[in-house]
Symmetry: D2
Subunit: 275 residues, 4 copies
């Protein structure tokens, strides 16, 4: 469906992960190896934090591989916390408002996967969005709606619980309409300090998700790697599929787990929907 | 806000009204004389009937004046019933799904004006859309939502009554939220045979709307006009502002009226919201 | 690099070859099986004749697979002679003026392949374009320049000789600059009546090219095929790779040959550059 | 035709001049007061320096007023030297490669005006571009070609002399083809340290151009203006038409003059083409 990456750590130019390596995200837009679709050419987006009240967004409906502005901006923009996403539409319109990451206040959200039979249950899901949030919905994707449901369920206070309630609500609503296995997702969300990365699907067979090995271990394994040497020990990336092929650099997020990337020790916890 | 035209009559290339005359719709995209905004550069759309089950659409987010494809297609496409619209956004996103005309089944719909304080009452309006229609809403404009409310209220059976109920519902909902003068509109809709063109606003001061003089009268007044000579007596156009400046060719639709363009005698009736 | 198709015969809606079959051109934009690249997502174009002085063009920089307007127009437009092309850029900018087919007067031109080391010899090639044609060049591709060179060398009078001189000139210019195997091409061109389809490369290893079997033979082989029954015996398509997989329907154009599709008997001749 | 601004001084977010003031450049894209056209909706571009080997570019074919990415980037990007341009095409295609500013190595270039009867003399002008520069030309505008001619004539060594030779060459070529008053221009160019801003036309009636008053004088005149207080005394802007309406803030560049904005005292000199 889509491919995404989330980065937290030493400020770097975005092009470091988007462009300048084998199997970069831009490479994956043409030739994904692990995705449900090999081509992810239905637009892309980048969201990043640079100290302001809310993150910045650059989103486009062009394929990432042929957008010159993306190359300029990925070289010009440095950030210590950013999201990037390349889209393969499952049918909804190709427009910036359907392009990830989505933003609300300090929060970013991006998704790979789908709500199955979304048109059948969309109205019921929309009705559950809080009145105060409703008019901020700008597009028509399942992904953005999942974000607004999570916000409704308290994303700002307890992200894991809120995402759990969102998933539970989607599964209940799907079940009530006879939808098998309603939820298929890898999701990343952040408030600009912590990243939460979820891997979950109703059927227990989720899209791929990987997190990078601790920097101190990687540096120890590759003492001569200059790129690694410049990165702080806190630096971490979470990705739909590995960038590059450094042995030992990438680890699969297990089924039904959430990774928490934050100042101090990162965590990996089991994740289950709330019923 | 926007400018539009609706045409019914002898099949002509679209460029006849869109491009090839003074004060054509394309001219108005750069220099509207009667519009609330002089520039209507936030996209455009054309919908036309060519004998199939549903009308065709060509919509773009580019300004109409610089879109080369529009020039090609306006020359290539002939139709005896078409709508054209140039947009000046009042804030919603510039994307094809927010571009008029909107289509549902055999129906087309386009709008100039606005629902005032739309974000405040949008959710309540959305909830009133029929369940079966809900997921066909693709954009986020007030205009498209008015269409789906009218469909919900029976546009397919009795268009004037349905639009009356839609307007009444928007006015009631606005009143309940303390919105002054919620509705400002000129609207055209068609099922491919008849065109209904409404001019209405809560405050009784609506955007401009004009209909062309009966062809037999125009031909009698201008016996040497070759362009007129080729058009059937049934030919009629309804426009936001006059195309060209042939004296006697254009007549204002009065406040709170609906014009009905159909096979046989056209009609002009008073229009009032249903409460 | 790219994929294209040229059609001549009974007027059909463009969607018949662009969309409504297995391995349609749109399918090939995402998953080409025989192309040098699997994804052809850097824009597309359609050119067709409808009786006017020059052909019509619809060209876009969006990927063909996600352009809604293309779907509308491919259903609305019928033609008995049309070209369609999906692009995979080899580096030049993604813009409509770099998108095939190219048009000059009555002529259309489209190309799959490349002039090797084009930047090194581009200026010398540009200088050879006739003064009166020079300012009609709108883009920066090798493909468009090949068209204007062929026009300079008499495309309007003797297309095969003119293309031969164009290829010869490119090869001589390349040789003078030490470029190995300067020309790699399949090219289609038409004046609205006859189609010439060339398969040639300096190294004798050209991109794939196929022509459809004579309709009378195909109808005899598939007497129950309703789609074939509606097509005249003169109907013929030339394509970068087969559309669909009807056994016996497609035949490879041999290396260094040109196919001529015209009223009366079609022809297949050897093709060689003029020195 | 177009509107532009050039800024040099204390690093500021681009939005300070592009968006956040009355009569900002974005305002001028909809409602220019002094331009040859009121609407400048045929794309825009921003070029800025951030310490690298070459300036960055963000260019788009959308109208500046409705491009969301521009708003994000204008807030995110800070620079002490930047160019911004909004385009009103005089006929050449709407594409990024025809959008100003143009870049070559360290240099930026932007233009308001035109070469009259450009198609008639274009080929002769193109032929004068140095062989090594030729293939860097990506678009088809007179503006970009003026840049490459100036580069050919030594822009990198002596910008005023090179622009003088470029103008002289265009005027000579025009005269040889019977073109009256070939050159109409305001041009800004920079190497990332110094800005040269030219106002010239063959007929001595050039497009408007203004430079801001010395900051020390402005601060003395407006001691309570907080925005001014934050800007260094070296800060200077050159614009097609004044931004805002602070009395005394803007001064017209005289006919046939060039302004030089640099470290130390700025200069204003007469400018004449070299024959």
């Amino acid at each position: 469906m889509c491919r995404w990456l989330a980065y937290s750590g030493s400020p770097i130019p975005l092009e470091g992960l988007l462009l300048k390596r084998d199997r970069s995200l831009i490479d994956q837009s043409l030739h994904s190896q692990l995705g449900a679709t090999t081509t992810n050419g239905d637009g892309f987006g980048v969201g990043w934090y640079d100290g302001g009240d809310q993150p910045r967004l650059y989103r486009s409906t062009h394929p990432a591989w042929n957008d010159r502005n993306l190359r300029e901006l990925a070289a010009a923009i440095r950030s210590g916390l950013f999201f990037a996403h390349i889209r393969a539409s499952t049918g909804t319109a190709i427009q910036e408002t359907n392009t990830h990451p989505f933003r609300h206040g300090r929060w970013l959200w991006m998704h790979n996967g789908m709500i199955r039979d979304f048109p059948r249950i969309r109205r019921e899901l929309v009705l559950a969005v809080d009145d105060s949030l409703f008019t901020s919905i700008e597009g028509t994707t399942d992904s953005e709606l999942m974000f607004y449901l999570a916000l409704t369920f308290g994303l700002g206070d307890d992200p894991i619980a809120a995402v759990g309630r969102m998933v539970g609500f989607v599964e209940e609503t799907g079940a009530a309409h006879g939808v098998d296995n309603p939820m298929q997702m890898t999701v990343a969300t952040t408030d600009g300090r912590t990243i939460w990365a979820f891997r979950y699907s109703t059927e227990g067979s989720s899209r791929s998700l990987y997190f990078s090995t601790r920097m101190d271990s990687l540096k120890a394994a590759y003492p001569d790697n200059e790129e690694l040497a410049e990165l702080s020990d806190e630096t971490r990336a979470v990705v739909s599929e590995p960038l590059g092929d450094l042995p030992g650099a990438w680890n699969e997020v297990p089924e039904s787990h959430v990774g928490i990337v934050k100042v101090g020790e990162d965590e990996l916890r089991t994740f289950a929907p709330a019923r």
